[in-house]
């Protein structure tokens, strides 16, 4: 498998604000959405696990060969916290990010990227 040159993995933390609250409260919809987002990114899906909470909210994870996608929602605030962890530069997380933003009708969204495993000797500058 192809690897990153500067880290073992990239961990993308994405914030989706001003989403459609009904969608954020629909765990079945979110499970389909995240499986489809993983396909859009070119990831290989190994399994997924979603839960609906009472009175509102949902959590879920898709485990992929390249690592994972997760979501936790607060429908009462129109907000979803998402992360994508990938160990493969061939996984297009930006496509998944844009796909999710569109499907949740998010009017305001952003992400940051954290490099993981960077203290290993192979990533230290000589």
């Amino acid at each position: 498998m192809e690897t990153f040159k500067d880290a073992l993995g990239k961990h993308i933390l994405a914030e989706f604000y001003e989403c459609d609250s009904h969608l954020l409260n629909d765990a079945l919809f979110l499970e389909k959405l995240f499986n489809q987002a993983a396909r859009v990114a070119g990831a290989t899906i190994l399994g997924s696990h979603f839960h609906a909470f009472s009175p509102v909210g949902a959590s879920g994870v898709v485990i992929i060969m390249e690592s994972h996608f997760s979501i936790h929602t607060w429908p009462e605030y129109g907000y979803a916290a998402v992360d994508f962890f990938t160990c493969s530069p061939l996984m297009h997380y930006q496509k998944a990010y844009e796909y999710i933003a569109k499907k949740l009708h998010s009017q305001n969204h952003t992400f940051t990227t954290q490099n993981r495993g960077t203290a290993l000797p192979q990533f230290q500058k000589k």
Copy 2:
């Protein structure tokens, strides 16, 4: 449920270096370890999903009422990338972090904490 005052969730990204490589390659061990770590943190477990990779490595997630714990391992480098996402100040992620470090025999480990959902109006300074 009690909530944080400055964010909807706390996302802890933990790096475990110089671990026992045999343990990092044992998905069954890791699944038991992470379920136990969730209990140590006082979290409520909803389910877990772990996979062993070929030739080496493992990935897994424990979904908890408070959000999730995940791990991705690189036994060949003695490294594990872990994250804890929690929406509850009552979940003791530091205890889980220390428990995992000890059980993986990690000689070098660190974590950072990211606040999530902080652009919501209730977290803006007046």
